[in-house]
Amino acid sequence: MNRLTQLRALIRLDLRLFLSDRRALIMLFVVPIGIASFMGSLFGGSGTKNGKSGAAGGGGGMDLVLVDEDDSAVSRGVVQSFASDANFHVQVTNSTVAKDWVMTGKRPVAVLLPKGFGADVLPGLFDSKRTPELTVWHDPGRSMERAMVEGILVPKVIQSVVANAVNPELGREQIRKGLARLDARAAAGTNASGDKLLRELMTRADDFLASRPAGSLLQSSGTNSGPASLPLPFKTQSVPLTKSRGGEYNGYAHSFAGMGIQFVLMSLLDMSIGLLRDREAGMFRRLRSAPLTRATWMLGKVGSFTLISLGSLVGCFAFAMAVFGVRIEGSIAGFVGCLICVSLMAACLALAIAAVGGTPAGTRGAGIAVLLLLVMIGGAWVPTFVFPRWLQSVSLMTPTRWGVDGLDAMTWRGLGFDAALAPIGALLGFSVLLAGIAWLRFRWDDE
């Protein structure tokens, strides 16, 4: 018997049925993309790196409102520092509007830089009466954002103050003022004995400062310019322990992997339930009247389900790449391998659930519960690294965890092919196990 002809017919039929089912198409393409976009924006969006490619309406960065009533070099430096930080989406306005936005929940946090802030901030270090006060208005429900802004305000203010204190322009202005005073004394004939030497010194100093580009006093490499880019006396480096080649956590990369897998599983479960319904409707009697073996039939199902899943995941990631700037920072071969193995695993899982469930009604309820659990514990909703440790270990026993981890590793974590081997191996192992369950438990006759 021509097994290949049969196999091709089985797979083509499923693809055809799938494409004619508008609900299934929406479930596999529209819904996961919508939900993943939403979840991605909730959980961190794209990292600083990809912030620029965020969607219109501020895809990347947290909303922050700044009110600059001081308009000094220091306060402008703070504003500029926030503005150039891709973690923030900054809007500058007046205090009335800012308070209104925060009060009505349109923006989470606003910071007021009061009049005199720039002038007082340095003396304030030595005289507590002059210490200026920054006001942070915040939505009471958004204390995470408030804490983040308050935390980051400190280095940004210090940066701006230091930069302005050692700004060569400011230094030269002091020198010009000094020289003018010397000129005035000379004109009035009241010059002191050391004036000549002083003039000499100041002129030399001025020449020196004039030869330095702005902001370069403390930064000899001088690649950046502008007062706000002066380094802190210490450096911070965020270490998302897994980082190797350059990945930063990307909420979109993660949510598209997670939601992609979730909806693939849901849809494939739906299709497996369709098989059970076909069986109840007597369709299998016709199939089995042909010289078709159960093995060919099951291979056809695994094949078509895997292809449908692949199509959906590729669609989701293509969207995430085009719109949210998600990139495969790691191995492309590893990414493709993970996609294929995730799809295979999903196909086998759906068939196994239907095989164990037995009837359409029984499978639907229990199947959805099982899937949600796997998807949740597997870290498809929120990344597993926020889980308590015991749950992280538990989640290693779910195939979904390996799927999400593998895709994460190849996208935002930017790991090499070797990092895909464990997920691929685990996913293949789960596939074999689940296919075995499906093979042993799926009844395809009427007995």
Binding site: M1, N2, R3, T5, Q6, R8, A9, L10, R12, L13, R16, L17, S20, D21, A281, G282, M283, R285, R286, L287, R288, S289, A290, P291, L292, T293, R294, T296, D445, D446, E447
Partner: protein
């Protein structure tokens, strides 16, 4: 050459405690058309399943052209075309796509497949709807496609399990025409139904089964022979007799009377033999003082033979 295309011996099939088929026996020659009749639950579908190789019998052997199927993938299954009792079609795709799929499962490819799909659509008169989704079809059209799907691979032996169930008279006629032309083309048919008229029209041989057993296996002529002496008596009684029917049990217990039914003042008797039955019944009624105002008798139909054999009518199970 004249080996039976189908032979089944001693088929037994149980579902738990229930014996669905109990020693079924059948031999069918090439080109024969056999009607398989039986009330609900008689075991017809179960038998067909075993004949088609869908179900392993608990005992007994099925041979198609002298050999038994070996496993699910046995290529000899292509000899058989099964028209399942249920509508086994994919509603979301077109009639043509359905046929192409089922044809491919039977191993047809390329132009052979395309030609056959076109031919069978022509046979069942659905060519003009080839590209339409099956779910937009009427019930009768679906039934016709259900038949077509069993014909794509041009099988020698057709197993038809109630192919006209739930169909309007017009579609039923169309399906009959199709089946008759298949007969003329020399195909062997096994046709399962509750309707004696269908068997009378399509088949030259009748197998009646009940409780999983064959209780009659005869040519149509032979069955008619059996029926010839059996018959029905219709008696009109006086109104007084009808209101007080204590005599009815006496009539029922008469020798040769198989059944007695009183509706208003009309008494209908089933008699194993019309003339002696009439004489006995009239005597009995006279003895109970019942006045008979009219009498009609009529020859049994095949349906009555069925009743006689099984003690129940074909369609009330």
């Amino acid at each position: 050459m004249n080996a039976p295309i189908l032979s089944a011996t001693g088929l037994v099939r149980r579902f738990g405690e229930r014996v669905a088929v109990d020693g079924f026996q059948l031999e069918v020659k090439r080109g024969e058309a056999v009607g398989l009749l039986g009330p609900n639950g008689a075991g017809k579908t179960t038998t067909i399943s075993m004949l088609a190789g869908l179900m392993k019998p608990d005992a007994g052997v099925v041979r198609i052209d002298g050999v038994s199927f070996e496993g699910e993938g046995d290529p000899r299954k292509q000899w058989v075309g099964l028209v399942p009792q249920e509508l086994a079609l994919y509603g979301e795709i077109s009639a043509m796509e359905n046929l192409r799929f089922f044809g491919a499962l039977q191993g047809l490819t390329g132009s052979k497949l395309a030609t056959r799909c076109g031919e069978v659509l022509e046979i069942v008169g659905l060519s003009s709807r080839a590209g339409d989704r099956v779910k937009t079809f009427s019930g009768g059209m679906k039934r016709r496609l259900n038949l077509a799907a069993a014909l794509v691979h041009d099988p020698e032996l057709l197993l038809l399990d109630e192919p006209t169930v739930g169909v309007d008279p017009q579609s039923r006629n169309a399906i009959f025409d199709n089946i008759e032309s298949l007969r003329r083309a020399g195909k062997t048919l096994i046709y399962t139904t509750h309707y004696m008229e269908e068997v009378e029209r399509l088949c030259d041989r009748v197998v009646i089964m009940d409780h999983g057993r064959v209780i009659a296996d005869d040519s149509l002529a032979g069955l008619r022979q059996r029926a010839s002496s059996a018959g029905r008596l219709t008696l009109e009684l006086s109104a007084a007799a009808a209101t007080d029917a204590r005599w009815l049990d006496a009539v029922r217990s008469l020798d040769g009377i198989l059944g007695a039914e009183l509706t208003g003042s009309t008494l209908v008797l089933e008699a194993r033999e019309v003339h002696s039955g009439a004489a006995r019944a009239l005597d009995c009624l006279a003895a109970h003082g019942v006045r008979v105002t009219g009498l009609a008798s009529h020859q049994a139909r095949l349906e009555d033979v069925f009743l006689q054999l099984t003690g129940r009518s074909l369609r009330d199970g």
